[in-house]
């Protein structure tokens, strides 16, 4: 499988790009320390000669200079590069945690339902029907404010970890369904295979069959599903922040940068282009990687 992946040049390239983003996220404090800027300081308001009285960068192309490589944010005058680097952190932290939760719930439910069938299967199908018909994005939009009114007193601001938790929670609630459905089908066909029958004939316990015979055979679809789920969660999180119900100030976030960039787009297009292109590269690399993983794991894929 690793050999098959190594032969895939596009796969290797996308793997490198994804790795680059992960390194950016992990080393964000180091990078910004070397670069000498941080993502929260209002350079434009504190230093003269950077922002016009209307709050737009004075230098061309969004204030790109030797000092601020990707320019500065209109209005507050924060450094764009530092915000971008820390933004990867926000995205990957939320998407990664959600993916881990989705993997656990999806595997447990999918394998259990696929193995048990009967009444459990009917109940599962109903829950899936409900969750699939649910307007998920609308629900994601509404849940944030509801949680906020429930747990945060009036006038207080919501702590950042709570926003993270809410986002992880809602992504997990909807995210496990497709994975569990895939695994249910996989386990149902595995269950009838000879090696499981052989184990059963030898008197293996249910526990042994589930953990030793079935589980080791489902990791391939799980891996493929997760590589494609991470970019989907990152873009959904960015979309929520774009609509104003995601991560709040001052935590750096790509979606909120895009939303701010959209406000001043005709005067300062550069500020939208950087997070927009970063997001495009990030998602493109993940999608290509997902395809490569699928091809490497499944020799039957029609290409």
């Amino acid at each position: 499988m690793v050999d098959a992946f190594r032969r895939d040049r596009v796969g290797i390239a996308s793997f490198c790009v994804v790795g680059f983003f992960v390194v950016l996220a992990l080393a964000a404090p180091l990078i910004t320390a070397l670069y000498g800027k941080n993502p929260t300081e209002h350079y434009g308001q504190n230093g003269a000669g950077l922002l016009s009285p209307e709050g737009l960068p004075l230098l061309p192309n969004g204030g790109i200079s030797a000092e601020h490589w990707f320019g500065i944010e209109p209005g507050l005058g924060r450094d764009v590069l530092a915000q971008l680097v820390y933004g990867v952190r926000t995205s990957l932290l939320i998407a990664g945690t959600s993916a881990a939760v989705v993997a656990v719930i999806g595997v447990v439910v999918g394998v259990a339902v696929g193995y048990l069938s009967g009444f459990v299967d009917r109940a599962f199908t109903f829950v899936c029907n409900v969750l699939l018909a649910f307007p998920a994005l609308l629900f994601l939009i509404t849940l944030g404010p509801v949680v906020q009114t429930r747990f945060v007193g009036p006038g207080e601001s919501e702590p950042a970890w709570m926003q993270f938790l809410v986002l992880v929670l809602v992504f997990s609630v909807f995210g496990w369904v497709p994975l569990a459905m895939v695994l249910r089908t996989v386990v149902r066909s595995l269950r009838e295979r000879e090696f499981v029958e052989a184990a059963r004939a030898l008197g293996a316990s249910r526990r042994h069959i589930v953990f030793r015979e079935l589980l080791p055979n489902v990791w391939a679809p799980v891996l493929v599903h997760l590589t494609l789920a991470v970019p989907a969660m990152v873009t959904t999180e960015a979309a929520l922040s774009f609509l104003g119900v995601g991560v709040n100030e001052p935590v750096p976030d790509w979606g909120r940068m895009i939303s701010r960039g959209a406000d001043v787009f005709y005067d300062d297009p550069t500020y939208l282009v950087f997070p927009g292109v970063s997001l495009l590269l990030f998602v493109l690399a993940f999608n290509l990687l997902g395809d490569a993983v699928r091809d490497a794991l499944d020799p039957h894929t029609v290409r």
Partner: protein
């Protein structure tokens, strides 16, 4: 067939009930006082009590819910903030104290915009997604196939809230090639209607087309090798005709099901597209209701969106049964 239909309808109703119960419980059980939000800051305690009674908030949550569901079936009368009774005929989805109109009326006002966006976007998805998937399958492995898959990968990776602004900047603001996006009712002139919406259609369609292109291609490639297609070709039917007449029909099942889900989702409101292009459809209504804490409208839009999804998924199942005798007879 009748039995299948009845079963499908019962299932759909059960799903909708479960969704409305969840949405209702979640949003009305939040301790933020919906009556205070509805009444506004200048409300005295007597008015507040009146609003609470008219919203049914003094009742236990279960009877509030049964009232709500009852209102959907038979309609009911709701009192406004000042106590004037407002008739809310069936299907009553509650009354918005922010917009001062029944929720269903508010949705109906904005539905034409959302339907217009959905119709055009769907056409783009069919042409771009299904069309390019068909072409790629027939030209498998050739440059056309590679080019199309690259193009579709770009569509799958780019975001509406980026592409939408970039295209508006390049095509509307800088060069003036396109008219600024706006909604003109179809009745006022189909040309104006289409001109105002062409950019949102292209963006929404392009972004969603990739899934269809990929699914069409893989379905076609899989079905092409079935015996019945080979028989058709052996009998002397041309390549293109045999594939369109036999392969496409056999391959359409999963596509139709996905399309059903898509149509339902599009009719529930294109939140991001409407926000990016400044169009006031159901999606914008829902987003505004959330940010403005307008709970009756939130629950109403959730329900309407879910209704469309359930309806079109069920319709898609029927179409699949009609297209593919193997499903019908199973």
């Amino acid at each position: 067939m009748t039995r299948y239909l009845l079963k499908r309808v019962a299932q759909a109703v059960a799903v909708l009930l479960a969704i409305s119960a969840t949405a209702f419980g979640l949003f009305y059980a939040a301790p933020s006082d919906p009556a205070r939000i509805a009444c506004g800051p200048k409300c005295d305690s007597a008015q507040l009590a009146a609003v609470r009674t008219s919203m049914g908030l003094d009742q236990p949550i279960v009877s509030q819910f049964t009232d709500y569901v009852g209102g959907i079936v038979t309609g009911r009368t709701i009192a406004d903030v000042d106590g004037t009774p407002i008739p809310c005929p069936a299907p009553c989805l509650g009354y918005s104290y922010t917009l001062h109109q029944p929720v269903l009326a508010a949705i109906e006002d904005r539905l034409p915009v959302t339907v217009s966006i959905a119709v055009g976007a769907l056409a783009v998805i069919l042409v771009l997604g299904v069309g390019s998937g068909l072409a790629a399958a027939l030209r498998r492995g050739r440059p056309t196939d590679r080019l199309l898959s690259g193009f579709n990968l770009l569509g799958a990776s780019v975001q509406i809230y980026f592409l939408g602004y970039v295209l508006q900047f390049l095509l509307v603001y800088s060069t003036g090639l396109f008219a600024p996006p706006r909604y003109v009712p179809f009745a006022d002139g189909p040309g104006q209607w289409a001109l105002g919406l062409v950019l949102p259609w292209l963006v929404l369609g392009f972004v969603n087309a990739a899934v269809y292109a990929r699914l069409t291609r893989s379905q076609m490639l899989e079905t092409m090798h079935h015996g019945y297609v080979r028989t058709a070709r052996a009998k002397g039917l041309g390549t293109l005709r045999s594939h369109l007449k036999y392969t496409a029909r056999g391959a359409a099942g999963p596509l139709v099901q996905l399309l059903g889900l898509e149509v339902g989702a599009l009719l529930g409101g294109a939140f991001i597209t409407e926000t990016v292009f400044g169009l006031g459809g159901v999606g914008k209504l829902a987003v505004d209701a959330v940010t403005g804490n307008d709970l009756p409208t939130v629950v109403g839009t959730v329900l309407v969106a879910a209704f469309f999804v359930v309806l079109f998924v069920a319709l898609a199942d029927l179409v699949v049964a009609w297209l593919d005798p193997r499903v019908r007879l199973a």
